[in-house]
C-alpha cells in the first residue's frame, strides 16, 4: 500500500487511548515532549470497559501513587466519584485501600478534557497497523490509511484491542471491546520484529437497566460517612452526594440455569484458548470450581449519575445470551431486569513482558515502550501506573537523562513492573498486597512521602504539591512530639480507657503510649485531653487535616512494624545496588544450574536483586554470581 508522510513530527507517539495511554501521553507531554496520542475512539478515552470503579485493595494504593507522581488518574477519579469507601478499615494501615465508584461517562469526558488542555499534546483518531522501521531503527508508526507519522519514541498501549475477539455463547466476532473494532496488523508487525506474543482472556458481566431492578429486596452498601479522596492535591474535593451500591446473591436455581449453557460456553467447548484470571473468575467458573458453595455474592454498581445503567459485578459470563438472561431473572430482585448489554469474554494478544527493561522499553527495539494490558496485566490502575512510567521514561531517554525506575520498597508500581519484567505472566496480572514484600511501607497514606519529591524533581508536580507534603510532614512531626512529651493524669484518661475497653492507668502516662494501644484512637484521645484538643485546633483549617491526623496515628501505632520493614528493605536493598554487567555470559558459567543459565541469559537481569527473584534461579546460583562479581572487581582493581 502507498504510504505518505504526516507533516507533523513527534517526540513520543502513544498508540492507544486507554488508562495507560492517557497517563503516558499526559506525562511525556507535561515533561516537555511533543506528543501524539492515537486512539481508535477519541470519544471514549480512558473508558471503563469493565467495572465502573477505581481503586480497591492494592489497586487503590497504585492510584494514590500515580497521583503522588503527578499522574491524572487520582484527580479524574475524585472528580467523577459517585461513591467512596476506604476498604479494610478494620485491618492495619497497610491494608487500608481507597475505592471509588465512578461515573464512567464523566470519567472519560474529564480525561478527554484534560488531554485536550495539555499543550504539545495532539489527539488523533486512527488505527495504527505497523511500526515505521528503517534499518532496524524505530522512526514512527504507520496507520491503516497509509499515513506515516514520524516519532522518536513509541509507547504501545493497545489494551485488549490487538486481534481482539469477543465471545458470547457460540457467537464470536472480532472486536476490541463491545461496540469497538479490533486492531489488526500491529501484532504481526511486532512478531516480524522478533517479539513473542500470546493470548489472554478476560470477561465482563451483563449491564442492566436500574429501573427494572427491585432494590427493595437487595442489601444497600452505602459509601463512607466521611469519604476521603484519591488525590493529594488541594484541587480535588471528596464526593458530597453518594449513590449506594447493592449486594445480591445467586442461588442453586440460578446455578442450575447457568449450567444448561455449559455445552455452548466458549470456555468449556475449547473455543477460547487464552488464559483467564483465576482470581476474577466468571460466574460459570465459580460454579464449577466452588461446587460446594450454594450461593455467590454479587455487587450491583451504578455506572453514573446521568444513566440508569448498572453493572452486575461478580456475574461475568460468556454463556449464550438467553442463558445469561434466564439466570439473571432467577436472581432475587432481578426478575424483571432488562439487559442493556450482555456479558462477554474477550481474547486478545499480549507480549510476554519479560521482553521489557525496567523502564518498559523493549529489549528488541530501542525507543519502543509497552504499557498496560499488552503486557499481560488487568485493571485500569495497573495499566495507568505502567503508562505513567513508560511516558516518563520515553521522555527522559530522548533527553539522554537518567531513567526513573521505582524499586519494590518504594511503590506498588515498582513491584508491578519488576514482577512483569522478571517473572513474566501466565494469567492476567492483577496487583495484590501480598505481592509486595514491604507492604507496610507501601501504604496509601504515605504515597506522597514516597514519590512526590521525585515527581517534583522531574517536574511532574508543582511547588504547591511539595509544600503540601512539607506541611504534612511538619504537622506529623509537631503532633508526634507533643504526644510523646505530654502526659495525662489517670483521672483524665481512665473514663476514656474504660469506654475503650482497655486497662486503666495508675499513674501519669504519655499520650503516645496510650495511642499505641489498639483500642485507643486519636479521636478518643483528643476528646479526653483538653491540651491535645487545644494543640490540634491550631491546625484544623489545613486542607488535608483528616489525612494528616491519620498519618500521625499510623506512625505511632505501627512504629515497630514500620521500622522493622525499613530495616528489611535496607538489608535487601544492597542486592538491588549490585549491578550485573549487560554482557555477562551466563551460559559459560557451568557452576549454576542449567535452568538458571537459560533464564538469566534470556532475561538479562540488571541487578543481583532482580536475578534473585527470577523463578528457577536458586540462592546458590545467586551466590555464584556474587562470587564472580567479587572476583571480577578484584581483577579490575588489580589491573
Amino acid at each position: 500500500m502507498q504510504t505518505f508522510a504526516c507533516t507533523e513530527k513527534y517526540d513520543v507517539i502513544v498508540v492507544g487511548g486507554g488508562h495507560a495511554g492517557c497517563e503516558a501521553a499526559a506525562a511525556a507531554a507535561r515533561l516537555g515532549s511533543k506528543v501524539l496520542l492515537l486512539s481508535l475512539q477519541i470519544d471514549g478515552l480512558a473508558y471503563m470497559s469493565c467495572n465502573p470503579a477505581m481503586g480497591g485493595v492494592a489497586k487503590g494504593q497504585i492510584v494514590r501513587e500515580i497521583d503522588a507522581m503527578g499522574g491524572f488518574s487520582g484527580l479524574v477519579t475524585d472528580a467523577a466519584t459517585i461513591q467512596f469507601r476506604m476498604l479494610n478499615r478494620s485491618k492495619g494501615p497497610a491494608m487500608w485501600s481507597p475505592r471509588a465508584q465512578c461515573d464512567m461517562l464523566l470519567f472519560s469526558r474529564l480525561w478527554r478534557q484534560w488531554i485536550d488542555d495539555i499543550p504539545n499534546l495532539d489527539l488523533r483518531q486512527d488505527m495504527v497497523t505497523g511500526l515505521w522501521m528503517e534499518n532496524g531503527r524505530l522512526c514512527g508508526v504507520v496507520t491503516r490509511t497509509g499515513l506515516r507519522i514520524e516519532g522518536r519514541a513509541v509507547v504501545l498501549t493497545a489494551g485488549t484491542f490487538l486481534n481482539g475477539k469477543i465471545h458470547i455463547g457460540e457467537c464470536s466476532y472480532a472486536g476490541g471491546r463491545m461496540g469497538d473494532a479490533a486492531a489488526t496488523g500491529l501484532t504481526e508487525c511486532l512478531q516480524s520484529l522478533g517479539f513473542a506474543s500470546a493470548r489472554l482472556k478476560t470477561g465482563t458481566p451483563v449491564r442492566i437497566d436500574g429501573r427494572t431492578i427491585d432494590f427493595s429486596v437487595l442489601t444497600p452498601q452505602p459509601g463512607d460517612d466521611h469519604p476521603a479522596k484519591f488525590s493529594f492535591s488541594d484541587e480535588s474535593r471528596p464526593v458530597t452526594e453518594q449513590l449506594p451500591c447493592y449486594l445480591a446473591y445467586t442461588d442453586q436455581a440460578v446455578h442450575d440455569i447457568l449450567r444448561t449453557g455449559f455445552d455452548k460456553s466458549p470456555m468449556y467447548t475449547g473455543r477460547i484458548q487464552g488464559t483467564g484470571p483465576r482470581y476474577c473468575p466468571s460466574i460459570e467458573d465459580k460454579i464449577v470450581r466452588f461446587a460446594d458453595k450454594d450461593r455467590h455474592q454479587l455487587f450491583v454498581e451504578p455506572m453514573g449519575r446521568q444513566t440508569h445503567e448498572y453493572y452486575l459485578n461478580g456475574f461475568s459470563s460468556s454463556l449464550p445470551e438467553d442463558v445469561q438472561c434466564a439466570a439473571l431473572h432467577r436472581i432475587k430482585g432481578f426478575e424483571r431486569a432488562k439487559i442493556y448489554r450482555p456479558g462477554y469474554a474477550i481474547e486478545y494478544d499480549y507480549f510476554p513482558p519479560t521482553q521489557l527493561k525496567a523502564t518498559l522499553e523493549t529489549k528488541a527495539v530501542e525507543n519502543l515502550y509497552f504499557a498496560g494490558q499488552v503486557n499481560g496485566t488487568t485493571g485500569y490502575e495497573e495499566a495507568a501506573g505502567q503508562g505513567l512510567m513508560a511516558g516518563i521514561n520515553a521522555h527522559l531517554k530522548l533527553q539522554d537523562a537518567e531513567p526513573v525506575v521505582l524499586d519494590r520498597s518504594q511503590a506498588y508500581i515498582g513491584v508491578l513492573i519488576d514482577d512483569l519484567i522478571t517473572k513474566g505472566v501466565d494469567e492476567p496480572y492483577r496487583m495484590f498486597t501480598s505481592r509486595a514484600e514491604y507492604r507496610i511501607l507501601l501504604r496509601q497514606d504515605n504515597a506522597d512521602e514516597r514519590l512526590t519529591p521525585l515527581a517534583f524533581r522531574l517536574g511532574l508536580v508543582d511547588g504547591k504539591r511539595m509544600r503540601n507534603l512539607e506541611r504534612k510532614q511538619h504537622f506529623v512531626a509537631e503532633v508526634d512530639t507533643f504526644l510523646r512529651q505530654t502526659k495525662i493524669e489517670p483521672a483524665e484518661a481512665n473514663p476514656m480507657l474504660e469506654a475503650c475497653d482497655t486497662a486503666v492507668i495508675a499513674q501519669k502516662t504519655t499520650l503516645e503510649s496510650l495511642l499505641q494501644r489498639p483500642q485507643v484512637d486519636l479521636d478518643r484521645l483528643e476528646e479526653a485531653t483538653p491540651a491535645l484538643r487545644a494543640f490540634l485546633e491550631t491546625y484544623q483549617n489545613e486542607n488535608n487535616y483528616r489525612a494528616m491526623r491519620e498519618a500521625v496515628e499510623i506512625g505511632i501505632k505501627y512504629e515497630s512494624y514500620i521500622r522493622k520493614e525499613q530495616e528489611n528493605a535496607e538489608r535487601m536493598g544492597r542486592y538491588e545496588l549490585v549491578r550485573l554487567p549487560e554482557d555477562m555470559d551466563y551460559r559459560a558459567i557451568g557452576s549454576i544450574s542449567y535452568e538458571a543459565r537459560e533464564k538469566l541469559s534470556k532475561l538479562r537481569p540488571m541487578t543481583i536483586g532482580q536475578a534473585a527473584r527470577i523463578p528457577g534461579v536458586s540462592p546458590s546460583d545467586i551466590s555464584v554470581l556474587l562470587i564472580r562479581l567479587q572476583a571480577a572487581s578484584r581483577e579490575n582493581a588489580s589491573k
Binding site: 480497591g56 485493595v57 492494592a58 476498604l87 479494610n88 478494620s90 485491618k91 492495619g92 497497610a94 491494608m95 482470581y279 455467590h296 455474592q297 495484590f432 498486597t433 501480598s434 514484600e437 507492604r439 507496610i440 489498639p518 505501627y558 512494624y561 522493622k564 520493614e565 535487601m572 542486592y575 557451568g590 557452576s591 544450574s593 534473585a612 536458586s618 540462592p619 546458590s620 545467586i622 551466590s623 555464584v624 556474587l626 562470587i627 564472580r628 572476583a631 578484584r634
Partner: protein, 654 residues
Amino acid sequence: MKSDMTDSICATATPVGNGGISVIRLSGPRAVEIAEKVVRCRRGSLADLPSHRVKFVEFVAEATARGATAESEAASVTASVASAASVGASEASAPGASADAATAASDAASVAASVASAASVASVGASEASTPGASAVAAVAASDAASVASAASTAVGASEASVLGASATAATAVAAGASASGVMAEVLDEGVVTLFRAPHSYTGEDVVELSCHASPYIVRRLLSALTAAGARMAEPGEFTKRAFLNGRMDLSQAEAVADLIAAENKASHGLAWRQLRGGVSNEMAALRARLVEFASLVELELDFSEEDVEFADRSALRTLLDEIAARVAALRRSFATGLALKEGVPVVLIGRPNAGKSTLLNRLLHEEKALVSEIPGTTRDTIEDVWEWEGVRYRFIDTAGLRESADPLELAGMARTKEKMRRSRLWLYLFDASEMSAEAARAEASRWYRDVMGGGDAADGVSPSAPVGSPEIGSPELQILLVGNKCDKLAASSLANAVGGESGASDVTYLSASGNIDDSQGVAVADGVSEIAASGLKHTSVGLSGAAGGTLDLLYLSAKTGQGMDVLESRIKARCGLRLSENETILTNARHAEVLGRLAETLDRILSGLTANLSGDLLAQDIREALRYIGEITGEVHPDELLGTIFGRFCIGK
C-alpha cells in the same frame, strides 16, 4: 575466602604422615587434564576412563623447574601440605613459608580445626572412595587412617617434625633434578586413580582422586606436580563449598560435613551423618511448607476481604502455629543433647576445696591431669578433659572449690566454676565423708544450686525451688549426684554415722573395693568396711526431692583408692547416657540453634498477635520473618554473608 570456580583445586584428603595410603583429591573443570600430566597408564588413558572407575597407574613428576624457582615452589607447596596436615603444624611452619602459605595458615587457624579432626578426614575420604572397584583400597585406607589418626592425636609434635623434616629432603631432591637439567620425567610411585565425572561427584565437578603411598615426600611431589600442571591448592572447605555452589547439597548438609569431619565418637558421627542426609533440612522444609500454608491463608484474607471468600478460622491457625512452635522448641532442646554428643556430656566436679575433686578427676581419666595437693584451693581454674564410655563422650570438668573467699584470684575461679555449673548436665557434688554428713552436704549442694541458678529463696535452705527458667534437678538438663569421698579414711561404723540421722545405712550406696555391685538386685558387698542393707543400695535418694521436683543420688567412694569408682561410672552412664532414636532430628549446629531461637521469638509474637486479634497485615509481617529464619537454615535466602563463616570451618581436602 577467594573462590573462583573456573580453577581446578587439589589437596590431600588424608593427613600427611608416614602412613599407608594417601589420597589426593583434585576437582575442577580441568581435573582430568591436569591429572593426566602426573599419571602414566599402562594402557589407555585417564580421559577414556568411565566415571566411578579405578585405574592402576604410575605417578610421575616432571622436573623442569630450576634454581631458585624450584626452591621457592617447593617451599610453598610444603607449607600448604603442612597446613593440610594439621592446623597446629601449619602454624608452626608458617613463619618459614611464603606469604601465600602464611595466608593459608592463618585461614586455617581461624577455622580452629584440630589435629584429630584432620585425621578423621582420612576416614571420610576413604569411605568416599569405596566405589565397587576400589573397595580394597578403601579398606586399606580406612584402617590406615585410623592408625594415623591415633598417631596424630597423641603426637602432634612428631607429625609436625616429620613434615618439616621431609621438606628439607624435597628441596634437595628438586634441586638435584634441576641440576641434571632438561625435562625429565621421574616415576614417583604407583597407585590408583578414581574418576568421578561431573556432575556425579562430591563437588559436582570432575573429580580425580589419586591414591599413592603415604610418604610426605611423594605427596608433596605429587601436589607440586599438580600445581605445576595448573591446579591450585584448595582452601579449607573449598571442596564442600563447591558442592554447595553446584547444588549438590544445601547449606545445612554442607555444615553437616564439617561436623562429620570433626566427629570424634560414634554418637556424634551418627548425628552428623543424619544431618548430612538432610535431617534438619527436611524437618525445616516441612515446617516451612506449613508456615507458607498459614501465610497464604492470611494473605488470602487480606487481598480478598471484599469478596465473599471463606477464610480458615483463627483457632485452626492457632493449632497449626502451636504445633510448629512445639517442633521448634523440641529442636531447640535437642541442641543441648546434640552439643553434649558433639563435645561430650558436661559433668562438673564441685565441692568444697580439698574435697578431692582433682583426685577424682584423675581417677576418672585414668591419668594425672590435675595437680593434686593437700593444700585446699590448689585448683584455681577449671580443668577439663574427655573420657568415652560406650561411644558417648563425657567431658569432666574439675573446678576451683566452692567456698567464701576474698582472694580475687580464687573469686575469679569461682565465677568460672559457676558458669561451668550452669552449662553442665551433671553435677558431682563431692564432700569429705570423713568430715561432713550427707545431710550437711545435701544442704550445701542445694544452696549452691540456688546460688548458681540465680533465684529461689527457699527459707529452709534445704528444699530448693527451681528458679524460673532454670533446669529442674532431675530433669535431663540437670542431675546432681552427691559423692561422699575419702571413705577410705572411715571405719565401717563411722561411715554409717556419716550418713546422718535418717534411716542411715539404707540410704547409702557403697561398694566393695573390687567394685562388685549388682545393680539389678541392688546388692552390694561392702568389703570390710560396712555391710549395707540391700534395699536402698542401688539408688539412693536423699531428701532433696523438694520443690525442685528432682532427687539427688548419694554414693560413697574413695577417689584415692578407687573404691566405688565403678558405681560412680554406672551412675553417670545411667543418669546422663544419651539415647538417640533412629528418626529423631538432633540439632548440632550453633548457628541453627541461634536462628531457631529467633524463630521461636517470632512464633511467640505471631501467637500473641493472634490472641490480641492483630490485623492480618501485621501478622503477615511476622510470618514472613519466621519464613526468613527458616530459610537461613536451609539456605533459601541470599546466603553470601553466611558462606564465608560456614565454609571457613572446614579443613582442607573436603
